[in-house]
Amino acid sequence: MVEISKRNARTWSRMGIRAIYGQALAGYAAENPNVIAVSADLGRSSGLDRFSKEYPNQFINTGIAEQNMVGVAAGLARSGFDVFASTFAPFASMRASEQVRMNMGYMGEPVKLVALGSGFAMGLLGNSHYGLEDLAVMRAIPGLTIVSPADCAEIYKTLEACIGHRKPVYIRLTGGVNCPIVYEEDYDFQLGKAVWIKPAADITLVSAGTTVGHCRSAADALAGEGFTIGVLNMHTIKPLDKEALAHAAAVSCTLIVVEEHMRTGGLGSAVLEFFAEVGAPRCRIVTYGIPDRYGETGTYPYMLKTSGLDADGIARLIKRETANA
């Protein structure tokens, strides 16, 4: 594991999420010949260019054939390899969803399926390339663990946790270059265990992926106005960290789930499903995500801004919701 430091975090953020995925995986492949990268012709778009040249025996390009990518990855995973298969989020989760269902869900083959550029990260490439519904599809498949790292450091942590982990995992990468930095020093990461970025407070934000960093910025910005806001990094969306959620509900008056995903079927739905079971008597729960339509498209920052999913938008959301409370 590389060192998580202020300096490294800044460098990684500049390089961006996808480049760091490739770099991190190459690092692990160098020390572990059991690590195999499979790509549906998006090696260069996921920082795997160097990987494919330096470790040609550990890299397979299936061509532009995502269904085959998942099947082949499953066969390799059954053979005992640590297989990371990557393509853009809609192709991983929807083009190949039935292969995911049969191979990773039904058979439980321990593929690590990496969804690149999820949320709005593909910017100008538009809705065809956005990952807006992937969580809804993947969450419905039994047996999958779903992880969305908050920043580049957490990509390292996620990959490290996945190597040798003989269960299927869907890894959802949001964020692009200059992504928010959440971690500047080492921390304890475990699959299924959420991390408190700011302790639970009257208002608590629950998020995953790079939205966590925007949530923290929003909380920081509002601190000067007298708000005390908790931020929970629910990096593992399935299974949810129920203890952390129960704690948030016990402490907070308002719990706001913020996500770069359709409001249907994502983290917000998962949290609501949990509280529908156990109840949250003194806590109001708000879910915020992308409205149920294919909207206009633009650069990543533009998309986050117009969707209210950047720090400013989240700050406005908090004010709105607390005014309502």
Binding site: Q67, G75, S79, Q99
Partner: protein
């Protein structure tokens, strides 16, 4: 106790590495009909009967496997991609000693793990869950690539149907296997010329199934899928071919062996009643109780 069961017991007791007894094609057909009849439900019969000889040669002469040690790490792997033909597969697994008649009798019983499509259960010799057509070859290629990376002397055999070859995902895999020259992968295409709704018209006129596999860069061997000698020869040739994957395109008759089921797609998925069961036994040349 049948001769087969005695032989299976013997091989279990001795822990023999190789199968020393012969399973006949008739044994398999009889078992298919028996299970279909006893389960009392509709089952996929036609596509099970068409691949009997192919599976019998594969399990009897080709596959490196140990029914008494189903998870033997050095075994070859078989994937039934045309998963609906599970009856034929289960009959073969049973007759080769993977599980006993009591287990087989649970076919399509509520809660059984032997259902209308294979469900992965390594202890029973079932390597993969199938039923969704067009996925087995891809999984098989991954397995073969894994063997290649580990430099293991093992092979993967995947049984597909001609109707199944309508699935585009088959051809994603065909292209990649050829590109990589994966010689540990062998596809067996049971070309029985029917799919659910009738004839496989796709490959009946302008395009031929064997020709597509050839165009995709595979070593293609066309045979009569009911001719034991040709089947043995095809598997030997597949094994000898080192440049890449082999597709054995086997022309077969759906419902083979039971005259009124042959090329009669009513028996794609149907129920065997007690009257039909008697007819089946007669068609197989076996005497029925009432003569």
């Amino acid at each position: 106790m049948s001769l087969i069961e005695i032989n299976v017991m013997r091989s279990r007791v001795r822990g023999l590495r190789t199968i020393i007894y012969m399973v006949s094609d008739l044994d398999i057909r009889k078992t298919i009909v028996d299970i279909a009849f006893k389960c009392g439900e509709s089952a996929h019969i036609g596509g099970s009967l068409s691949m009997v000889e192919l599976l019998n040669v594969l399990f009897g002469e080709v596959l490196k496997h140990r029914p008494v040690e189903p998870e033997w790490p050095d075994r070859d792997l078989f994937i039934l991609s045309k998963g609906h033909a599970v009856l034929g597969y289960l009959a073969v697994l049973h007759l080769y000693g993977y599980f006993d008649a009591d287990k087989l009798a649970t076919f399509q019983a509520d809660g059984s793990d032997l259902i209308a499509h294979p469900v992965k259960k390594l202890q029973l010799g079932i390597e993969s869950s199938n039923g969704s057509l067009g996925q087995g070859l891809s999984f098989g290629l991954g397995l073969a690539l894994g063997m290649e990376l580990k430099n293991e002397d093992r092979r993967v055999y995947v049984m597909l149907g001609d109707g199944e070859c309508n699935e585009g995902s088959v051809w994603e895999t065909a292209a990649l296997a050829a590109e990589r020259g994966t010689n540990r992968l062998c596809a067996i295409v049971d070309e029985n010329h029917f799919r659910n709704d009738g004839a496989v018209t796709t490959y009946a006129n302008k395009i031929k199934l064997a020709g597509i596999w050839r165009a995709f860069g595979w070593n293609v061997i066309e045979i009569d899928g009911h001719d034991r000698e040709q089947i043995c020869g095809a598997f030997a040739a597949a094994r000898a071919y080192e440049e890449g994957p082999t597709a054995i395109v086997a022309s077969t008759v759906k419902g083979r062996g039971i005259d009124f089921m042959e090329a009669n797609n009513d028996w794609h998925h149907n129920r065997i009643t007690s009257n039909v069961y008697k007819d089946c036994l007669r068609a197989l040349g076996l005497e029925t109780v009432d003569g």
